[in-house]
Symmetry: C2
Subunit: 346 residues, 2 copies
């Protein structure tokens, strides 16, 4: 066990309260005394016990709000697991997490949720933002007027006063896919991209990263598409069929969004599953299965749980210890998996 505040108090011949004031710069203490106490603490190798600290501070009840968008999707379900993990941790440290799940995507609901959280007295908010001016203004309002710090996750909102962002670097994700695809097809031939929505910034950035890196590193690869499938298997299948018909010599497909199953089914129908190299995103749905059977060659993914866990913990550490986040952009790791590196518990 370490040195305690009581031992320092005894060594310095003062009360514990005085030691506390000295060590935590709370003022209302004679500077010389404070200096002397700090020195003694230093000499004795004092390290504050977080347990005592947390228990004693749990009266203050740090309350953190979380707003999740599109909460029904499989990906967000994983993010949710991370949020729950953070919630348990915060709970066990005497804080509270207030969670608001918005089933689909709604700017109106988001603003309502923010206001609700404010009325509940949260001291900070972690949220998935939406590209709307009103939301942007609201984030700035909360941060500047109400002094409620905000962390964005999953999607960023760059030109706001948000504290930081936790999520994937989608452009880099696309580049990683390009690096893989280039090697898979031997650096030449036709490669197609199928994406979800042209309006979704994450997906667009994957497309952009993929295309630009192919052009730089594998100039002999010809890019087909992007086609859009609206994250729908049937439409993804149709897009695949169209691509296959127009490009019988197709060597690879990069799928930025959901709809993988539709693509694989169509490839199978044309007897091309496994020979057309396929790279997809995220470790959800049937993706592992499709990889095991050889239709998908690589999966690129993110640790969805971390996206839920970190934003909450960043805010907790800020409120509890005054610890600032490490950086404004906290990109999650980009995982590459092949059929041999599928985690066992799935």
């Amino acid at each position: 066990m370490g040195v305690t505040i009581r031992q320092i108090a005894e060594a310095a011949g003062v009360s514990r309260g005085t030691v506390d004031r000295a060590l935590n710069n709370r003022g209302r203490i004679k500077p010389e005394v404070a200096d002397r106490i700090r020195q003694i603490a230093e000499e004795m190798g004092y390290k504050p016990n977080q347990l005592g600290r947390a228990l004693s501070m749990s009266k203050n009840n740090i309350k953190i709000g979380v707003i999740l968008q599109a909460a029904e999707t499989p990906f967000m379900q994983c993010v949710l697991e991370g949020i729950e993990r953070a919630k348990d941790e915060v709970d066990s440290l005497g804080g509270t997490v207030l969670l608001c799940k918005i089933p689909h995507i709604s700017g109106r609901d988001t603003i309502d949720a923010m206001e609700h959280m404010r009325s509940e007295g949260v001291s900070a908010i972690a949220m998935v933002p939406i590209e709307e001016e009103e939301i942007k203004a609201h984030i700035n309002l909360f941060v500047e007027e109400y002094h409620i710090p905000i962390v964005t996750f999953n999607s960023d909102m760059e030109d706001t006063k948000r504290l930081c962002f936790v999520g994937q670097n989608a452009f880099q994700c696309g580049r990683a896919a390009a690096g893989l695809m280039g090697e898979l097809v031997g650096g030449c031939g036709k490669v197609a991209v199928i994406s979800g929505y042209s309006s979704n910034p994450s997906l667009s950035n994957r497309v952009l990263g993929f295309g630009s890196e192919l052009k730089i590193k594998y100039p002999e690869i010809e890019l087909v598409g992007p086609e859009y499938c609206f994250e729908d298997n049937h439409l993804a299948g149709q897009a695949t069929e169209k691509i296959l018909k127009e490009n019988p010599d197709l060597k690879g497909i990069y799928m930025t969004s959901h709809g993988e199953e539709g693509v694989c089914r169509m490839l199978a129908k044309y007897g091309r599953a496994g020979t057309v190299k396929m790279i997809a995103n995220d470790f959800m749905g049937k993706n592992y299965e499709l990889m095991r059977e050889g239709s998908i060659h690589f999966l690129i993914g993110q640790d969805a749980q971390i996206q839920g866990y970190e934003p909450v913990m960043i805010l907790f550490r800020l409120l509890f210890n005054g610890e600032q986040p490490k950086g404004e952009l906290q990109y999650t790791e980009i995982f590459i998996r092949n059929e041999y590196t599928i985690p066992e518990n799935l």
Copy 2:
């Protein structure tokens, strides 16, 4: 804030001590009373506050010993960071971690360290074992006679009474490399393996996994080697030269151990860097650099920090909460990285 033991005591009309006895099955309580209290706790949604628990239990001072082997190597330095992280966490929860670094590899020193830890009164040990009968016997002695649970990490010691193992599944790691190599070389041609020591089980398992999976999935690939380089760059270069001379049509090299730089230098000398596809292990030394410059195509690695962190925390959770580890073999994730997925802080 959650429900407290005091609220339950009031609701049940008993003392807090009685609630504690009921909820933690400490006995010395009338069964009916215990049942009723448990039911009330359930109804009120009681979740014990870890903070109060930990603070109160910090009198007992849980002490965990860690024995690190070959502590001077870069890999173990990363493992060490994980140990330090766990140590901080354990400290802040009122426990103690006693660390013993053995600079090289020594069975004698390992046993001395174990005895030292016992004399210091540790309640559990996390250690890197060595393939020696004496160590094996000592592990069993500690577990069975002294009731000091032991977790092995990095290397396992399967036929002992150790609680569990945290580390890489080396065979699977080799298979993952085979899957990558197969795609890199287009499923045919000559591929070589260079390893470190034939006596090291982890390295041998990588070689085995690589070879066996190539045979199954890419029967048209011809395997050259393994050659051994004793983790030395110069010897690795010589091995590479020999392989290149004997196999001018070589398409790929899988390097199971250190010595990557020597291989890459020799490939460059023969003008084959980048065209001979190379896969190496671990995110240390110059590996990222070699990947950025295109000499290494994929790196397979493990989260070294986790190997230090988890064993300590597994033991802490066991001693503090009575929580059993999830399984006997806790394989760390096998990471695949290409030049686009190099973490930013490196």
